[in-house]
Every structure is written in structure tokens, then in C-alpha cells.
């Protein structure tokens, strides 16, 4: 890295669980609200940003290039470029990395980067036969032709395609994300109880963190009817092994182990960070909360995508000459409990570490007290585009709170990718 990349501040919305209907805010509403509140507390004006980069996996059709839409809505002015990046579940982390790249090239000094998704607003789509029928109907001119088209119509055409199921299906291997988690459970011998216990602990940690006020990065939202959304609302304080045991496997029906309760929730949310060069820090008198030391992206088999974090984080350790215990806190995004457990087991597997990760031997067990200290996406939800930015931001807050120095935030990515960032608290 040529020059230090500073994180000045960050904020996110509460993560709002999708409840089988469009949520109260569109993706651009979420990003605008959190970003406006974040910018309002800075020493520089929004139009002094060099660019705004927003990760989003599924913007709605009226939010094309949502990064630009949101930059304008936040009052950054017409001259601040805004753009959008997409790397599925790591879109928010990609936005940060794109900001880093432009700062390193000297093209930008001060960047607002983050991620957003409003999965509750994922569209219902017409099926292909319905679209073909509709095209025929539009082309039918005479009454006779129209009658013929009506005779050809089948009720089944009306069955919608659920957009989010398409998004959560790997286009290469045709497996649902939850099925890739089942693959890892099979490979590493992870039981349903292992997963449920992990999920219960995630809820417990989020509850404790909420009670202790450890989510200071949240900016409350108010909708136009005056309803306040102050906290992540997917948390189940009553989560228990007995309760979780009642859920049925969702992805591999009947015989699988992965249930909705030991998977991340489908959620709406946005998260932002402000990145600055040394020069910008001096010029505006900024007080950084941390810096990003290194980033890595890795590829692996799409059907094992949940191991992305170990494939991305291991090269960072090697490159920076760090041992396991040099890392004070870890964030591994909880797409699925099974997938995080698989990551931990892979690092304890000497053979896997040597042959697949290029490590000299097993990294060893990561202390549970250092991993996802305030819970994760199983309890908070996983608004796909936002999660990568959320874990980087929260990791910095957690490091500063606990007096830690170094942390790694990593995330698995649908399609067979992993992303990781090494950060230092200041």
C-alpha cells in the first residue's frame, strides 16, 4: 500500500427484517437517511467529497446507478460523482475497496463509500411463458388474433418468479446459497445442533450489545408517518435450542440441516464509511477512528462459497507477516451458521491450510471471544449490499471499545468468492 487509508467515521441504519411485504424504506431512502446524518456531523461539507461509491446487489428499477441517486439526494451537489458497485454479498466491501483504489491512485482524497439493499422490496417477476404470451398479445391486431391469444392463456403463467430466490441461486451450479452451506456442513461434519447453538449465541450477543449500547453506529430512522426505527429488529431475545429445533430445513427439505433460524435473515439496511487520504485528514483537520491496512479478494468453488473468508483472509496474514494471535478481533459475516463454523474448522485443518490456503500449517482455533463479539447477521440480518460495510465499521468500533489494535473483517460471497480487510484502530 502506497499511503495510509484512513476511516474517519461511519454510520448505518438499523437493519429492518423483511416481513413478507415491502418494508417502509426503499434502498435509496435507507442510504440517504444514514448518509445525510453521517455527513451532517462532519467538519467538511458534503460537496467537498471527491466521490460517493455505493454497493448494492439489487437496486429497484427506479434506482438505476443508485450511488449517484443517493449522492444527489444527500445534497452532495451535482459535481460529486456517484457510482454503484456490485459484488453480491460483498458489494459494500467492494465500495470501500474501490474508494481505496482511487485514493491510492491519487484520484480521490475524501470518499463516502458503503452498501445498501432493501431485500423486502425485491420484485416479483413475470415468468418467461407469461412474458412471451404478453408479447403475443401486444402483437395481436385483429379480434380473431386476440381471441386466439386468449385461448392460449394458461393460469399457471400468472405464478410469479420470486426475484430474491433467483438472486440467491448460484447461476453456475444452480444451487441455492443455503444448499452451498449444506455442502460445507457435509464436508466438515457440522451438525444441526452445532448450527443452532451458534445461532442462539449470535442472538445472545446482539441482545447483550444492544443492552450495553454497543451499536453506536446506528442512526435512527423516522418514516414520514413519524414512526421511529431505532434498533435492529430481527433480534429474537427468546432464541433457544428448543425453539430453534422446531424449524424445518428450508433448502434441502426434510433431510437437510440448514433452517431459516440458523441462516442470516432477509433484511433492509444501509451502512457507510468515510475514507480519507493523509492529505484530506490534514486539510480538513479530521480525526480518524482507524485505517485499512490491506484487502484481499479470493475465488473458490461456487458450491463452497461459504469458505470465502478463509481464502481471502489467509493471504492477508501471510503478506503482512501476522500470526493468528496478532488479530485482536475477527468479523466473519454470518451468512449461515454452518458456513462460519466451516471457516473455523478449515483453519484448524492442517491439510486444508497447506494445500488450499498456502499457509505453513493449521492456523488453529480462533478464540470465540474474539469472533463476532457483538453477534452477526443470523441475529441482525444480512441486507446483502450493506453487510460488507457494516462488519468493517463495527469491527473498528469494537476494537476501539475493547482496546484492541488489529482486526480482520471477512465475508463470503455468492458465486464462489471471499473478501477480507485488515484494519487497525486508531
Amino acid at each position: 500500500m502506497n499511503q495510509p487509508i484512513y476511516i474517519i467515521d461511519g454510520a448505518r441504519t438499523p437493519f429492518l427484517k423483511a416481513r413478507n411485504a415491502p418494508g417502509p424504506f426503499a434502498a435509496s431512502d435507507l442510504a440517504t437517511a444514514a448518509g445525510s446524518a453521517l455527513l451532517a456531523r462532519q467538519r467538511f461539507a458534503p460537496d467537498q467529497l471527491d466521490e460517493v461509491i455505493l454497493g448494492c446487489a439489487a437496486p429497484s428499477p427506479d434506482e438505476v446507478n443508485i450511488g449517484r441517486v443517493v449522492a444527489l439526494r444527500m445534497g452532495c451537489g451535482i459535481e460529486v460523482p456517484g457510482w454503484t458497485v456490485m459484488r453480491n454479498c460483498a458489494s459494500g466491501m467492494q465500495a470501500i475497496d474501490s474508494a481505496i483504489a482511487n485514493i491510492e491512485r491519487g484520484r480521490s482524497q475524501l470518499v463516502l463509500a458503503g452498501g445498501v439493499d432493501a431485500l423486502s422490496r425485491a420484485p416479483l417477476l413475470y415468468s418467461d411463458p407469461m412474458v412471451r404470451w404478453f408479447a403475443g398479445w401486444m402483437g395481436a391486431r385483429s379480434l380473431g388474433e386476440k381471441l386466439a391469444m386468449i385461448r392460449r392463456f394458461k393460469l399457471g403463467y400468472l405464478a410469479p418468479v420470486i426475484g430474491i430466490m433467483k438472486g440467491l441461486t448460484d447461476p453456475i451450479v444452480g444451487q441455492l446459497m443455503g444448499q452451498t452451506a449444506e455442502n460445507l456442513a457435509f464436508e466438515f461434519g457440522i451438525t444441526r445442533d452445532d448450527m443452532d447453538a451458534f445461532a442462539v449465541e449470535s442472538h445472545r450477543r446482539v441482545a447483550a450489545a444492544q443492552d450495553a449500547g454497543h451499536f453506536g453506529e446506528i442512526v435512527p430512522l423516522i418514516d414520514k408517518d413519524g414512526t421511529v426505527y431505532g434498533a435492529d429488529d430481527g433480534l429474537r431475545r427468546d432464541a433457544s435450542m428448543a425453539g430453534l429445533a422446531k424449524l424445518k430445513p428450508f433448502f434441502d427439505k426434510k433431510y437437510g440441516r440448514v433452517t431459516p433460524a440458523n441462516s442470516s435473515q432477509i433484511t433492509d439496511g444501509a451502512a457507510w464509511l468515510i475514507l480519507a487520504s493523509e492529505d484530506a485528514v490534514q486539510r480538513h483537520g479530521l480525526e480518524p477512528i482507524g485505517r485499512i491496512v490491506d484487502t484481499e479478494w479470493a475465488g473458490l468453488e461456487p458450491e463452497r462459497m461459504g469458505l470465502g473468508p478463509v481464502h481471502a483472509a489467509s493471504p492477508i496474514l501471510l503478506r503482512n507477516g501476522l500470526e493468528r494471535d496478532d488479530i485482536d478481533l475477527w468479523e466473519i459475516n454470518e451468512a449461515f451458521a454452518a458456513q462460519v463454523i466451516a471457516c473455523l474448522r478449515a483453519w484448524q485443518n492442517d491439510d486444508y491450510c497447506r494445500t488450499r490456503l498456502g499457509l505453513p500449517g493449521a492456523l488453529g482455533a480462533i478464540d470465540p471471544a474474539k469472533l463476532n463479539v457483538d453477534g452477526g447477521a443470523v441475529a441482525l440480518g444480512h441486507p446483502v449490499g450493506a453487510s460488507g460495510a457494516r462488519i468493517v465499521l463495527h469491527l473498528l468500533h469494537a476494537l476501539r471499545r475493547t482496546g484492541g489494535k488489529r482486526g480482520i473483517a471477512s465475508i463470503c460471497i455468492g458465486g464462489g468468492l471471499g473478501g477480507a480487510m485488515l484494519v487497525e484502530a486508531l
Binding site: 440517504t32 445525510s36 451532517a40 456531523r41 467538519r43 444527500m74 445534497g75 414520514k224 413519524g226 421511529v228
Partner: protein
């Protein structure tokens, strides 16, 4: 052709383009010289008829703002008024009768006489952009659109819609104009010239009224007029405001021609000229322009405003700022306290941008809840609107001063405390000014801008400029308790309560003052403001030893605080006062209750709270709704002593 105000060009198609660009003025008005030149221009076109005529404006500000009001303040006789009306009536009739097709290309404001000029054309195109507004505001000046408006508008869009525009003076934008049939097309500026050329040469039949509308404009006009009269009667009395009644009469009975009305009729030019209403309303119009001028002392244009206190006042002030494009951080002790203000803002913004959901969303985007008060550091202007407690305000400003930019304007919305007393908390007391809004902020146009004995000039000028950015009227006032508006309202409301103590029913009192011309009776007003606030304000304004009217003290003691508690002098159901029937008021009741207001206004002028008597009139009219036809309390006092 050598014209000063008009430019006439002919293009290859033989279309004559007449561009009005009044010399030595930023806006186009139809003064005598401009009208004479229009006559000459038509003469020229008679000699060499064009294929068509397009009339447009050469001003960035708009099409035509209307007649030249200075000219008709100079009218000194009914005969002179007749000459002025004849000139416009005849000229526009001539324009309407030319053989070649004519078109008015309306971009920006198109008011009064300008509107009537457009009506005399065969076609109208309204350019679809926010500044385009067409209105006949004559009625607001106590006069009527006598240059053909009363004749042509009902013929064009039907009498119901026409009377609505003429009787309220309200404006329509380009799309509404198209919907009403007032404009043949509403087009974006980028195609306006092309549209004008194509339409004026199209040979398209001018718009015709549907059969039913035609009947209403002819044989059934009596019924329509009766209905309109009834509607007007709920808003204005003929003895206070003769013009709306005259408009209905001239349309229904005189073919829209004011010149045809016999001098003995109350609708005649002579009668309107004799009535003091028009004179008073025109004077008030000029006072309004004078107040607008107070905003010109500074080019201050705040981008970021921070408002402390998300109660009704603070929240509504923040909303008005967001509506006008400013980014506003709204602070209160918790996000829950800010939420109701956001809900109210949501409703106000939706009303303002009806059907324009994008603009509405962007306005709401600009209103940022800020429980931590982080917005102070970036703000160009900080307005405090917390509860009326001197120590709390002092502590707040002491903290704000430390965190605000050195060039930020610091302002309090206090209604009863002195700015100088609050300013003692500042290291630099000269920074603090008062910017005092009235409730409901969205409705009341007046804002008192308060300069304390120690206030510096610059923040004061900036405050007035900011008020103009909200399209409100800044009134400079001195730092005396109650400033102008509350200082005159207090004694008036207290007198009303003394009448209640004497056994007169609130209904009777309120009815008497509404008949006097007030928009709302004093007892209902007190219920609306809140009785606890009235007590607190009364103590501050009248001194701690002043005797509270018993009717007020009893109710406050019983927790009956008015509208907000559901019970005050009236029971309040669904935001409305439940009133019994009013009985006939004792003779002189309204005058008795208004007398302390008039006296207080005189005291304010004597003490120099406002610069002069004219501004006292304007302030009381725009701040309290005091009947404009009277010309204001000082004008009324003068008329009273003179008569």
C-alpha cells in the same frame, strides 16, 4: 417601427414575433406607454398583416406582472379610473378582433392585465416550469379585472372555474392551466418556440365550451351567480369587500364590461373608487413590497440551517426551510421527540408537492433528525425554538456559540423574552438576533426580525434575507416585550376575556369580532394558542402582578388548556371548536375589544418598536390577520379621529 418597450420581428413564415421588454425595469408591467406602443404595433400589423402574431416576453423574470400599480395609485377621480379601464378594454378588444391568428407564449408570471392580454389572443401556450403562474389577483387589491378578464375568462373555461380564479385571485401553474383549458398547450421551454410556431399556424379552432358550460355562462348565469354570492359571503362581507360581489354582478348582468355599469350601482367603477377598501388594500400591497425590501440588505442564502427544538414551532420552521431547498438538521432531546415533527413535515410536504412525489421525497431528505445536535458545526444559521425559559435558552446559546462557525447567524424564536437578556450568555452578544415566526408557520406570512440594543447590523440583515428566502415578510422590530404582534394581541385577548368574566358568551364575542373582519375570534384564538401559553405570555408581557381574567385562571387551574387538551373555552372535537349559537352582541362590543389593540399599536409606534405607523399596520395585518380592508390599526385610528 421605433418602439421603446416592444420589439417586432417577422420571420420567414411571415409570423410576427412581438417581444415585450419594458425599458428600465426587471419586470414587464402594462403602463400607459407600453399600452400606447401596443396600439402602434397593431397599427403597423394592420398596414402589413402578418400570417400570425406571437406575443412573448423578453424578461427572464416572467411574462407580464400586470398593470402598472403606481399608475393607478395616482388616479385621483372616478373619471380618471374610467379612462384607465377604457384604454385596456378597447385595446384588448382590438387585439381579440384582428384577422390573423394570435398566440401568447406565457413563461413565468402572467398576472392581472398580462393575463387579460393573453386571454385576448386566440391561443395560449404555458411553458411548463415551476415559475409559470397565471392569476387575476385584482380582487386582492379591492378592484376587478376590467380589461376583458370578466368577459373572456368565463367564455374560455366556463363560469365556475373562472369565478373561482377571479374571486380568490389564486394562481394556476402550466399544467393546471392546460387542464382548465386556459392554455392550449403546456410545453417545456426547450420546444416552446417550435410549439408556438406550429400552433399559431395550425388553423386549429379556438377551444369551445361544452354545452352545459355555455348554458351556465348564458341563460343559467343567474343561478351560478347566486351560488357564487353565497360562497363569497362565507369569506367576506360586501360592506368590507365590495369587489368580489361586483365581479359576479358584472359577469352575470353586464357582459363582463365594467364600463357598462351605471354609476349608481355598487359594482360601478365609481363605487369601487369611492370605497376606502381598494385604497387601503393597495396601500397594504405597497407595504408588503416595502417589507420584502428589508431582505435586500444582504445576499445571505443559507444552505444549512440548524433548528433546536422540535416542537410545533421548531418543527414547522425546519419544514419550511427544507421546502425551500435548505438542508436542515432538527435537534431535540431524543429521536422520539423529533418524530412527530417529521410526521407533520411529511403531511405539509405532501400537500405542497401534491402529485410530485420526487420533489416531496427530496424535501423530506433535506430534513435530518439530529438528536446529538451535530449540525451546529456546519450550519450557516442556527434557530432556537425551545420552551420559553431564559436560563435554558442562555445555557443553550452558550454551548452553541462554542461549536458554531464564527460566521453563523444565531437566532432565537422567542416570543416573550428579550433578545438582549438571552444574549448575555454569549461571549459575543452582538451575534444574537430574534427571528420570530407565528403559528401556524406555513400559513402566516409575517416574521418579526428582532434587533437587540447590542445586536450587530450584519446578522440582522442576514436574518431578514433568510426570511425572504422562505418567501415570508420580514418586519424589523425593536427588542421590547412581545415585539409588535404579541404586544397588540395580548391586550386584545385580555379584553375579550374580561367580557367573558362579565358574562358574555364566547360565541357572541367571537361572532362579533369575525363580523368586524378578524379571521378568527379572540376566544377561539386563545383556545388555539393554548391557555397555559396565554397565561405565561400574559405574565411576561403585562408584568407578574397583572390580574389574570378569572375565566382564564379558572380554566388553566382545571387543566383546560384549549384545543390541545380537548377543552378550553370551547370543547374541541376533531380539531374543531364546538360552538353554540351566538346571540346578538351588545352595541360596540367588537370596537370595545379591538380598542386595546389599536391603543397598543399606537404605543408600539410611540416607543419605536417598529420604524413607523405604516409598518405597524402591515405587521398587525400580516401577523394577526387584522382586517386588511381597514388598512390596519393605525390607519383605522387615524380614520376614527378624522371621522
Amino acid at each position: 417601427m421605433n418602439l421603446t418597450h416592444w420589439k417586432l420581428e417577422r420571420d420567414a413564415d411571415g409570423i410576427a414575433w412581438a417581444t415585450l421588454d419594458v425599458a428600465d425595469s426587471t419586470t414587464n408591467t402594462l403602463g400607459a406607454a407600453v399600452m400606447t406602443e401596443l396600439g402602434l404595433l397593431l397599427d403597423e400589423l394592420d398596414r402589413q398583416p402578418p400570417t400570425a402574431l406571437v406575443i412573448r416576453s423578453g424578461k427572464a423574470a416572467g411574462f407580464i406582472a400586470g398593470a402598472n400599480i403606481e399608475e393607478f395609485t395616482a388616479i385621483d377621480s372616478a373619471a380618471a379610473a374610467r379612462v384607465l379601464v377604457e384604454r385596456g378594454w378597447n385595446l384588448f378588444n382590438r387585439l381579440a378582433a384582428v384577422a390573423y391568428p394570435t398566440l401568447a407564449l406565457v413563461r413565468g408570471h402572467c398576472m392581472g392585465g398580462g393575463f387579460e392580454l393573453a386571454l385576448a389572443c386566440r391561443y395560449r401556450i404555458a411553458v411548463d416550469e415551476p415559475g409559470t403562474r397565471m392569476a387575476l389577483p385584482e380582487v386582492m387589491l379591492g378592484i376587478y379585472p376590467a380589461w376583458g378578464g370578466m368577459l373572456r375568462l368565463p367564455q374560455l373555461i366556463g363560469p365556475a372555474a373562472a369565478l373561482d380564479l377571479m374571486l380568490t385571485g389564486k394562481g394556476v401553474d402550466a399544467r393546471k392551466a392546460k387542464r382548465l383549458g386556459l392554455a392550449d398547450e403546456a410545453v417545456p421551454a426547450r420546444v416552446m418556440d417550435n410549439a408556438a410556431r406550429m400552433l399559431v399556424l395550425s388553423g386549429r379552432e379556438p377551444r369551445r365550451l361544452p354545452f352545459m358550460q355555455k348554458l351556465m355562462n348564458g341563460p343559467l348565469s343567474g343561478i351560478v351567480a347566486g351560488k357564487a354570492r353565497k360562497q363569497v359571503a362565507t369569506k367576506a362581507r360586501p360592506e368590507h369587500y365590495p369587489a368580489p360581489y361586483a365581479i359576479i354582478d358584472i359577469w352575470a348582468n353586464h357582459g363582463g364590461n365594467a364600463l357598462a355599469v351605471p354609476a349608481s350601482s355598487p359594482s360601478s367603477l365609481e363605487a369601487i373608487f369611492r370605497s376606502p377598501t381598494a385604497k387601503n388594500l393597495i396601500r397594504v400591497f405597497f407595504l408588503q413590497e416595502r417589507m420584502k425590501g428589508f431582505g435586500k440588505g444582504s445576499d445571505f442564502s443559507p444552505k444549512r440551517v440548524h433548528v433546536v427544538g422540535a416542537g410545533v414551532m421548531g418543527g414547522d420552521i425546519a419544514t419550511e426551510c427544507a421546502l425551500r431547498g435548505m438542508i436542515v438538521t432538527l435537534q431535540d432531546q431524543s429521536v422520539e421527540r423529533i418524530a412527530p415533527a417529521i410526521a407533520r413535515a411529511g403531511k405539509r410536504i405532501e400537500r405542497k408537492f401534491r402529485g410530485k412525489s420526487r420533489e416531496a421525497r427530496f424535501a423530506l431528505d433535506r430534513l435530518i433528525p439530529d438528536p446529538a445536535g451535530a449540525g451546529v458545526a456546519q450550519a450557516d444559521l442556527i434557530i432556537e425554538a425551545i420552551f420559553e425559559n431564559l436560563d435554558a435558552k442562555r445555557a443553550l446559546f452558550a454551548d452553541i456559540e462554542k461549536r458554531a462557525r464564527p460566521d453563523a447567524v444565531l437566532a432565537s424564536n422567542t416570543s416573550s423574552l428579550r433578545i438582549a437578556d438571552i444574549a448575555t450568555a454569549l461571549a459575543d452578544p452582538s451575534r444574537l438576533v430574534g427571528i420570530h415566526f407565528f403559528n401556524p408557520v406555513a400559513v402566516l406570512p409575517l416574521v418579526e426580525v428582532v434587533k437587540s440594543a447590542v445586536s450587530a447590523d450584519e446578522p440582522f440583515r442576514k436574518a431578514a434575507a433568510f426570511v425572504r428566502k422562505l418567501d415570508k415578510l420580514p418586519l424589523p422590530v425593536q427588542d421590547e416585550p412581545g415585539f409588535l404582534v404579541n404586544a397588540v394581541l395580548g391586550p386584545y385577548m385580555y379584553e375579550a376575556l374580561r367580557c367573558v368574566d362579565e358574562g358574555i358568551a364566547p360565541e357572541t364575542i367571537d361572532a362579533a369580532l369575525v363580523a368586524y373582519g378578524m379571521p378568527m375570534g379572540p376566544v377561539e384564538l386563545m383556545d388555539t394558542v393554548g391557555l397555559d401559553i396565554a397565561v405565561a405570555a400574559g405574565k411576561t408581557l403585562a408584568g407578574a402582578n397583572a390580574v389574570l381574567p378569572k375565566a382564564l385562571a379558572d380554566r388553566v387551574a382545571a387543566g383546560q388548556l384549549g384545543k390541545k387538551s380537548g377543552q378550553g373555552f370551547y370543547a374541541w372535537v376533531d380539531g374543531r371548536a364546538k360552538k353554540g349559537t351566538a346571540s346578538a352582541p351588545p352595541a360596540g362590543l367588537a370596537e370595545r375589544i379591538a380598542a386595546p389593540l389599536l391603543a397598543a399599536a399606537r404605543r408600539c409606534v410611540e416607543k419605536g418598536v417598529v420604524e413607523d405607523a405604516d409598518l405597524a399596520d402591515a405587521g398587525v395585518i400580516f401577523g394577526t390577520g387584522f382586517p386588511p380592508f381597514t388598512g390596519g390599526p393605525m390607519n383605522l385610528s387615524r380614520a376614527g379621529t378624522a371621522g
